[in-house]
């Protein structure tokens, strides 16, 4: 019982440590200064990833409207389909098995063409240094494979900010709670550059790019809000009495 209670109150991961470590190695002093001057919410706590993946959907479980995400962003264009997010040859991996879940993460966005010089997950790594993906129109088009949002979540991405989404990818992100799918008011993929340091404030519905010093409005979550707030379709169904509590 205690274990379930504990997982139910898990908040979004504190990304500052990992990000700051990598940032200090790869960015200029001014960027570092920008980063260090911005406080990270103290309510965030690191999570036991293996336990989480065994017990409950990741990341957004119980994510409150006042939560925020912070880290480096990875920028892609329009119509990033599920084959580019997770190529079909990796679909033999079963996401509900913990070790295969982790493996899926290492292949996130590996299908992007060579025009994307920076790789989302560096060769030899299983985790990405980019916690936020910024896309254009129709992100996640193509397949209904849930492996797509799972791969992103398993790689350590916390949120996707896109101009618009394909229906199934959006739904799978909400149902699983793997990544938080947010819609921007404008085309942020043309405003941000891979490697920029950004913060997403859910409560304020905004994204702050610390590298450029600009702020952008995000759209409110809409219909899927109750399911996202609950932490996924199962949590929502339990909360509304649709299915029995575990």
């Amino acid at each position: 019982m205690a274990l379930f209670s504990a997982t139910a109150t898990v908040l979004p991961r504190n990304l500052a440590f990992a990000s700051s470590t990598k940032l200090s190695l790869s960015h200029s002093h001014s960027l570092l200064h920008h980063f260090l001057s911005f406080p990270t919410p103290k309510s965030s706590n690191p999570r036991n990833r293996v336990a989480i993946s065994l017990q409950t959907p990741r990341a957004q479980s119980g994510a409150s409207a006042s939560a925020s995400f912070h880290g480096l962003c990875y920028v892609v264009g329009d119509n990033i389909d599920t084959d580019q997010i997770i190529p079909a040859e990796y679909l033999t991996l079963v996401p509900s098995k913990p070790d295969e879940y982790e493996k899926l993460g290492s292949y996130a966005l590996v299908g992007l063409p060579a025009t994307y010089a920076a790789r989302f997950v560096d060769p030899g790594e299983t985790k990405t240094k980019y916690s936020i993906v910024i896309g254009g129109a129709n992100f996640g088009c193509g397949s209904s494979r849930e492996h797509a949002p799972v791969a992103l979540g398993a790689s350590g991405a916390a949120a996707v900010v896109a101009e618009s989404y394909a229906r199934i990818f959006f739904r799978n992100s909400v149902a699983t709670g793997e990544v938080y799918p947010l819609e921007s008011e404008g085309r942020l993929c043309e405003e941000c550059t891979t490697g920029d340091v950004v913060t997403i404030e859910l409560g304020e519905s905004r994204l702050i790019n610390h590298t450029t010093g600009k702020e952008y409005r995000l759209k409110p979550i809409g219909d899927a809000g109750p399911v996202i707030e609950a932490g996924g379709i199962f949590a929502y169904a339990r909360k509304t009495g649709m299915i029995p509590s575990r």
């Binding site: 299908g111 992007l112 494979r145």
Partner: protein, 500 residues
């Protein structure tokens, strides 16, 4: 402590059970209408719009299906409703993950909501030595035995598909072939092309593992009611066009996101003239336009196709005359030309004749979109008319065992009794391969006809995003079987009118 923990859960389970029983009873009432009456109603010269006394305003076909499935008299686009699922389909790629979630959420010993409403069809990564791919079929088998699932189309001996009597092939074609598609029903599958079944006048859409795990335990899912786009296609179908040309024409018009969160309804004299397989091709690619589902109103063509395939009663529904559509698109089909979708997007439409300078390396005929019996008949017709040999490797992957059998047994019209396989052999195509999804999405590296090098391919499949058939730099031209066959004969993208 133990008893107090068990008690609420047990009570809740009973409540769920009662609800499920009630839902079944309710559905049974709806479906009690004898088929003969439906047929008669369809045949009547002045068909009255399908309505019930409780309908207050007009509804589209999709709205009506979802209203009935959620036991509501009235629904409008944007409503979120819990619907009762008639059929849930899953396969080897998403089945194991869905099962994992079902067991995690409902318990290791939980039973699926209805052993006759779950259809499990291994079809994606079958003919491969990839150990994990093979293991995934084993996982499906273990689960089906444990749950006593009625419809599991298993394959054990990978060396020869013919010695596996239960094996079918591609799920979307197998669903139709085996009578799992019924007008007016809700069919969900863990595959984006599940929308294919909309050809039968039902609501059919793709879902992910987590939603599927939820359906496994409850038989229900929360769905948002989509508004409908209406596509009126009139005129006689020219003898050089197939429904692939029609859907590529539409996607080129509205783009890959043009139908996001929307239903696509296909009507008109051209649509009425299409066979079920052609209607399936049309509905199959609505997801390529972002569509939630596609529908073709059920008619005598539908009912005739279903004869002998299903013993369950069904009740079709139709859009009311005053139903509201988001938009209406009209096409005079007699004026359309053969088209392709150029790399790297299904909406990158071009006339086939404008691509005549594109040299190709291979042709692929297969998949749920373009690997059905009539797709191969169409290709054979072009080959027959040409009397020539193909210029590039031409791969043939029948969608199901039945399609494979048809290639070896059905005579091609105008051929003097020759079968497809005889014609294919004469013109130099590869021998028809084991039925499955094959290289449509790439898959394990040893998949037959997978594009392991950056080649140019004309394909009757459904998607051409980067890496779709294997290699990231592979270039795929989506086309109809007519265009694919014509292109094979010349080694360039070719308008089939050059041969027909």
């Amino acid at each position: 402590m133990a008893s107090s923990l068990l008690s609420p859960s047990f009570t809740s389970f009973l409540r769920t059970k009662d609800l499920s029983l009630s839902a079944f009873t309710s559905q049974r009432c709806f479906k009690a209408v004898p088929r003969k009456i439906i047929r008669c109603a369809i045949a009547a010269p002045q068909r009255q719009p399908s309505t019930t006394g409780s309908v207050r305003t007009a509804m589209t076909m999709t709205e009506k299906i979802l209203a009935r499935a959620s036991e509501k008299a009235q629904l409008t686009p944007g409503d979120n409703v819990w619907v009762n699922v008639d059929i849930l389909m899953t396969h080897d790629v998403c089945g194991p993950g869905s099962i994992g979630i079902f067991k995690r959420e409902f318990g290791e010993d939980a039973k699926v909501w209805d052993r006759e409403k779950l259809v499990i069809i291994p079809d994606h990564y079958i003919f491969t030595s990839d150990e994990r791919a093979n293991r995934n079929v084993d996982i499906l088998r273990d689960f089906c035995h444990e749950q006593n699932i009625k419809y599991f189309y298993d394959i054990k001996d990978l060396s020869n598909f013919k010695v596996n009597p239960d094996y079918k092939g591609v799920c979307h074609v197998a669903l139709a072939q085996e009578g799992h598609c019924r007008p007016g029903e809700v069919l969900l599958g863990t595959d984006s092309h599940t929308c294919t079944a909309g050809a039968f006048g039902q609501f059919a859409t793709g879902i992910g593992n987590t939603d599927a795990g939820f359906v496994l335990g409850t038989g229900k899912l929360l769905l948002k009611v989509p508004p409908t786009l209406r596509f009126v296609m009139d005129g006689e179908m020219p003898d050089y066009l197939l429904s692939k040309d029609l859907i590529l024409q539409i996607i080129g018009e509205i783009t890959v996101a043009g139908a996001t969160y929307k239903s696509m309804e296909f009507v008109g004299t051209t649509v009425e003239s299409l066979t079920m397989e052609e209607r399936m091709t049309l509905c199959n690619m609505v997801v390529e336009a972002g569509g939630k589902n596609g529908v073709v109103p059920a008619d005598s063509t539908t009912f005739k196709y279903l004869e002998g395939k299903t013993s369950l009663p069904y009740e079709p529904v139709y859009s009311d005359d005053q139903a509201r559509f988001l938009a209406e698109y009209r096409f005079d089909v007699s004026k359309l030309e053969p088209v392709v979708a150029k790399p790297h997007s299904p909406d990158n439409r071009a006339l086939a004749r404008e691509c005549k300078d594109v040299k190709i390396d291979r042709v692929y005929i297969g998949s749920c979109t373009g690997g059905k019996t009539e797709d191969f008949m169409a290709a054979a017709k072009v080959f027959l008319a040409s009397g020539k040999q193909v210029k590039v490797p031409t791969f043939l992957v029948p969608a199901t065992q039945k399609v494979w059998m048809d290639l070896y047994s059905l005579p091609v019209p105008g051929s003097g009794g020759k079968t497809c396989s005889q014609i294919f052999e004469e013109v130099g195509c590869d021998t028809p391969a084991s039925p499955s999804c094959g290289a449509c999405l790439g898959g394990p590296k040893d998949t037959y006809a997978r594009m392991n090098e950056p080649k140019v391919c004309v394909s009757t499949t459904n998607r051409n995003f980067p890496g779709r058939m294997g290699h990231k730099e592979g270039q795929i031209y989506l086309a109809s079987p007519y265009t694919a066959a014509a292109s094979a004969l010349t080694g360039y993208v070719t308008d089939p009118r050059e041969f027909l």
